[in-house]
């Protein structure tokens, strides 16, 4: 008797295809060694670890991924990318999730620059303000 076990109906979904396209990564290459999370300097401030992000992306868990704090916590320091034994660019996958959330037309920006005090704005180096806006706003 042949039995088909379906792990998730989302595998191969349009969402997974979109993430793979924007990030340019093959999600199924990941074998969950956890090296990305072990070296991540931002892991302490995340709700879902980088290796878990990849697993959830493989499974097409769109809702949980786009609602996670992690996609806004990652600052693309690329430590994960440089240490991945499978050469998966984890930061690119996370950026594609961020981009997906920011491109949904809802203008769900994660940073409201006008809410900063004039002192804070004046103190910050321009590269901090501009990079934050590039990463956290649509």
């Amino acid at each position: 008797m042949n039995t088909t076990v379906r792990l998730s109906s989302s595998i191969g979904s349009a969402f997974v295809a979109k993430i793979e396209k924007i990030s340019g990564q093959k999600l199924l290459a990941c074998y969950q060694c956890g090296k990305c999370s072990a070296g991540c300097p931002m892991a302490a401030y995340m709700d879902i670890l980088p290796n878990q992000i990849i697993r959830m992306a493989q499974l097409g868990m769109q809702k949980q991924l786009l609602a996670s704090r992690t996609i806004w916590t990652c600052v693309s320091c690329l430590t994960c990318n440089s240490r991945c034994p499978k050469n998966i660019k984890i930061a690119e996958v996370i950026e594609s999730l961020r981009e997906t959330a920011l491109r949904d037309g809802q203008r769900n920006d994660r940073l409201k620059i006008w809410e900063l005090s004039p002192e804070a704005r004046g103190d910050l180096p321009p590269i901090a303000t501009i990079s934050a806006m590039r990463k956290l706003t649509s």
């Binding site: 396209k21 924007i22 990030s23 340019g24 300097p41 931002m42 302490a44 401030y45 600052v75 693309s76 320091c77 690329l78 430590t79 990318n81 440089s82 660019k89 930061a91 690119e92 950026e95 594609s96 981009e99 994660r110 940073l111 620059i113 900063l116 804070a120 103190d123 910050l124 180096p125 321009p126 590269i127 901090a128 303000t129 501009i130 990079s131 934050a132 590039r134 990463k135 956290l136």
Partner: protein, 299 residues
């Protein structure tokens, strides 16, 4: 390029931060290069580099700002230029690599920049000041120019992310770079082992989540302090801001936190090359470096 008989000046791209919060990085870069007999010329009509390389493969828009700068370099009759800001270096270099590898992306950008009279054709190289000093000037030559050897000064060199990642833009080892240590040694100082030298400072969370930066600063500067150093040197105005200006917050987080001055590596060069006080602008550093230098007889 132009005739071989015309000596080419090194084109210098300062970037936004070096003209604002990090003017100490700008003046120390310019004056130490003069002391090293390298003629530099600020790029005309430069614009913001874009600050971060967009990682999405379909994000062509964010390549426009860096590519415009590469066009300006061509217009300055050069095929290479130097920047001392680690973030500008990373963004410009990665955009350059990306458009060199993807001619269709470059064509889209050139179309978008149709009002430009010069087209970019992947014919400009991006250099960081550290690699320029190592490969073109030579650290031995730098050592010869030192007027005030930084004897006894213990220095931790912080690379952060942008000088070493990703691999294709790194001009030294990704996990254990030594280029800054070698420069610091050429200045007569003692580079000290610093395990967290390539750990991210928290970057732009400085804007929306300063509490993350305070925690990162506590850990990174704590690691530097374990080597009993006098100071930390950096090559990035964002790292400098986070590691220097967030030290008071780190102290609130951890009462055992010890303050340490954070300098641009060019400021340290300017001290050793005796470029004068105007070249240092220590007034723009949050933790005053003067007591640390004075303790080693270097004020």
């Amino acid at each position: 390029m132009g005739s071989e008989n015309i000596p080419m000046k090194l084109i210098y791209y300062p970037g936004c931060s070096l003209k604002n919060s990090a003017r100490n990085f700008d003046v120390s870069t310019v004056s130490s290069m003069a002391q090293l007999d390298v003629e530099i010329e600020e790029l005309e009509r430069w614009n913001c580099c874009g600050t971060v390389h967009a990682l999405g493969s379909d994000n062509v828009m964010n390549r426009v700002a860096p590519v415009t700068n590469l066009i300006r370099v061509k217009e300055a009759q050069s095929n290479e230029f130097m920047t001392s800001c680690a973030m500008c270096y990373n963004t410009l270099k990665r955009a350059n690599n990306d458009v060199k590898k993807n001619p269709e992306k470059l064509a889209t950008i050139n179309d978008f920049l149709s009002l430009e009279t010069t087209k970019y054709e992947g014919d400009v190289d991006v250099l960081h000041l550290l690699e320029y000093l190592r490969d073109r000037v030579g650290f031995d030559k730098v050592a010869e120019k030192v007027k005030k050897p930084l004897k006894g000064l213990r220095v931790a060199c912080y690379y952060g992310c942008m000088l070493v990642r990703p691999n294709e833009v790194a001009f030294d080892d990704v996990e254990n770079p030594m280029i800054m240590e070698n420069l610091v040694a050429a200045l007569g100082a003692t580079p000290v082992n610093f395990p967290l030298k390539t750990e991210c400072c928290g970057a732009y969370h400085a804007v929306g989540s300063p509490e993350i930066i305070a925690d990162r600063t506590d850990k990174i500067m704590g690691s530097a302090n374990e080597g009993n150093v006098d100071m930390v040197v950096v090559s990035c105005p964002m790292c400098a801001y986070n590691l220097d200006f967030r030290q008071d917050d780190a102290k609130r987080l951890n009462p055992d936190f010890k303050h340490l001055p954070v300098l641009y590596f060019t400021q340290l060069m300017a001290v050793a090359l005796e470029c004068g006080e105007d070249a240092l602008r220590f007034d723009l550093n949050h933790i005053d470096p003067v007591p640390a230098l004075a303790a080693r007889g270097l004020d």
